[in-house]
Structure formats: structure tokens, C-alpha cells
Subunit: 216 residues, 2 copies
């Protein structure tokens, strides 16, 4: 994404608002209103919308408008299926000397500091960085980019669920054990641990979605 152009800046701003849950799931974004709110012309906004729909954050319905993506349980299932395949592939590709593995270790340390400080949102952010870094073990720009889309969609879900969800439950011990297993070169062990994490994480989201649906 280009730094500097008006379109790309506004795209980033809207993306952040989406991730922070400032738009409701399924909410319609009116071109007139959004263009005015961000002080850009409607034409430029249409380019922005093309960018954000290609990232899965918005859904463009011809002649009806653009809507905030509303990942449902099927989407969560798909996202975790994608994560499983990509992250398993990353672990199978892992080497003990890969820089991403060292970075994962650093991120575990960072998460411990944040947890000690009680900064749970920060812990959640680091957890995502941990998994993004795991995918970097593949050395594939395309997989990195696509995984970024996965993370964006997950953050959209978290944003919709709000602060009460505690979805950034600390997975620090699990992440640390996983790094240690990889450092030993035990791929099979690491795959097991990843599976456990993904299952637990996915269940957490489904449960939170269920709670939210009950409350509405």
C-alpha cells in the first residue's frame, strides 16, 4: 500500500476504524457521508473502497453500496482452517537458525513484560505479531501478505466483540513452549502444540460470538 497518497492514507484510516470496531458489522458506508467525513472526493473514496474490499474488510454490493464485513461463524471456521494450513506449513518449513524464530522468542519476552504491567491489549497485539512472525518462517511474501489479511479480519471480529471479550487471553505460556519446541528441532511436537493453540483460540472466539449473539 502506497505511503503518502490521499487514497492510501484514508484507506489506512478507515482500516484502523474497522479494526477498532468503530463501525458496526454489516453497517452500510454511504459514499456521500464517508467522503465528507474524511474530506475526500467521492471518486477517491471509491478507489479506497476497492482497496478495502479486496482486503476483505468491506463488502461491495453492486448498486447498493459498501458494507462493513460481518464475519460470521462460517468465516471464523474458514479463517482457522486457513491458519491451520499456513501455520502448519510454516512450522514444517522452520529451521533452528531462521531469524523469525529468534524474533518469536523476543516477542514471548515482550509479552511477559506487557503481562507483568497488566497491559492486556498490548499482550494481544504481541500475540498477533507472534503468529505473523511464525508465518515468516515460510519466507514467502505472498503468504505474509495473505496472513496479514487473516489478522485484519480477526481484528475486525475482535473489534466487533468489544473490550468485554477478553479474547486476548494470554497465550504466553503456550507460545513460549512452542518456541522452545522449535528451538529443539522437534517439528512434530510443535505441530501438536500449534494445533492445541488454534483449537483453543477458535473456541474462544466462537464462545464470545455466541455470548454476543445472546445479548443482542
Amino acid at each position: 500500500m502506497e505511503e503518502g497518497s490521499r487514497a492510501s492514507k484514508v484507506a489506512a484510516q478507515i482500516r484502523n476504524k474497522l479494526i477498532e470496531g468503530e463501525f458496526r458489522p454489516g453497517e452500510k458506508l454511504s459514499e456521500q457521508q464517508v467522503a465528507q467525513a474524511f474530506s475526500i472526493s467521492r471518486n477517491t473514496l471509491r478507489e479506497v473502497f476497492r482497496l478495502l474490499t479486496s482486503q476483505g474488510l468491506l463488502v461491495h454490493v453492486p448498486n447498493r453500496g459498501v458494507f462493513v464485513a460481518s464475519p460470521d461463524e462460517a468465516a471464523i471456521i474458514d479463517l482457522y482452517r486457513v491458519r491451520s494450513i499456513i501455520q502448519r506449513g510454516a512450522i514444517e518449513a522452520a529451521t533452528k537458525t531462521h531469524p523469525a524464530l529468534a524474533k518469536m522468542r523476543l516477542l514471548v519476552d515482550e509479552a511477559k513484560c506487557a503481562a507483568a504491567a497488566g497491559d492486556w491489549p498490548r499482550v494481544g497485539t504481541i500475540n498477533m505479531a507472534f503468529h505473523r512472525t511464525m508465518v515468516e518462517l515460510c519466507d514467502s511474501q505472498r503468504l505474509n501478505d495473505w496472513f496479514e489479511l487473516v489478522l485484519a479480519e480477526l481484528r475486525l471480529v475482535f473489534g466487533h466483540l468489544g473490550d468485554g471479550a477478553h479474547l486476548h487471553e494470554p497465550y504466553i505460556a503456550m507460545n513460549e513452549a512452542l518456541v522452545t519446541t522449535l528451538e529443539k528441532g522437534d517439528i512434530a511436537g510443535a505441530l501438536d502444540q500449534l494445533g492445541t493453540y488454534l483449537t483453543k483460540s477458535e473456541r474462544g472466539i466462537h464462545a464470545a460470538l455466541h455470548r454476543t449473539r445472546h445479548r443482542t
Copy 2:
């Protein structure tokens, strides 16, 4: 992608031209000229360009313009890395009763007919459909969509290499053996066969690229 809107129609037209190699790798697409050629306004074309760049077929350089993607050897390496991870995941997820497996068998039969008729372009198209169908074993819409991008980029490469490349070399026997192995439930065997295919296919492209580079 929307059916019917002007922008989406032109996007499809440009996409086809790209895949067919009608634009040179790295060629700059001038907004004025392309808009005129397709009889659409520059604003609409900019939307189209946003769509096609997000598909990896075009590269947008701020303030300088939009260029035809020019997948180099690094890109081929990445594409095959991606294929390996995704398609291995697909095979690991495969079940004997999955509809995609039956479809893969049908596609092998189709390829045999096309080969008997000497229709090598058709064989190549079926080969791609075979691999796309393999990915459907994952039951993941996102992976299907991303794999479609992989195929588009590969076709862009084939388009650039031209007819002389014979990259649609028949892999019929390999595909047939792979289906048979999967139908037996022999995942490990199928993974081996896939690895062999991917290595051979990738080498073929690198060799063809090398030949073309020598000729220019």
C-alpha cells in the same frame, strides 16, 4: 467480482489480455490510452487498476503509473513455495469421499481426451483446473480465492513465455497416479507425488524463463 458493472467488465477484459500475454512484462499502462482504448473514463479505470493490482497482475507505482506485473524467478520461487504449502495442506485434509477428489478423477479423464485429440492448450487448462480442484479439498473459500491468484499469476508468466514454451506439458500420468494414491487413502504417498510434480513443474518454468532471457 461484480457481474455487470462497467468497471468489473473492463477489469475482466484487461485480466484476460494480461493472462494471454497481450501486454509485455513491465509494460506501463497509461491511464489516458487504456481508458480511451476501453472507452471508459479515467476515474473508472483507476478503480479497475485498484482491483487488478490487488490481484497481483498489475503493479501500481505512486505518481509514476501502473505497470504489468513481471514475475521474475523470485516470484516463481515464491509461487511454488505457496503452492507447496497450500497443496500439501489440501492433501493432508483430503478424505476419500470428498467431492473434489471425484472431480479430480473426472479432470484426469478429460485431460486424456484432450491429449488424444492433440489439444495441448486444453490439456494445460485442465491441468490448472486439476490443481484448483485439489485446493478445494481444503473446503476453504479464502484458500480457493488465493489459489486463484496464484493461477492467474502463473498464467501471466505463461502468457509472457508465449506458445513456444510448451509449459502445458502433459502431466496427465502424474495427476492420475496422484488421484489413485489419494483414493487409496495413502496421504504420505500422495505428498511425495505432489512434491515430485511441483519440483518438475517449477524447473520447467525456470528453464523456459532462462531460455527467453537468453533470447532477448
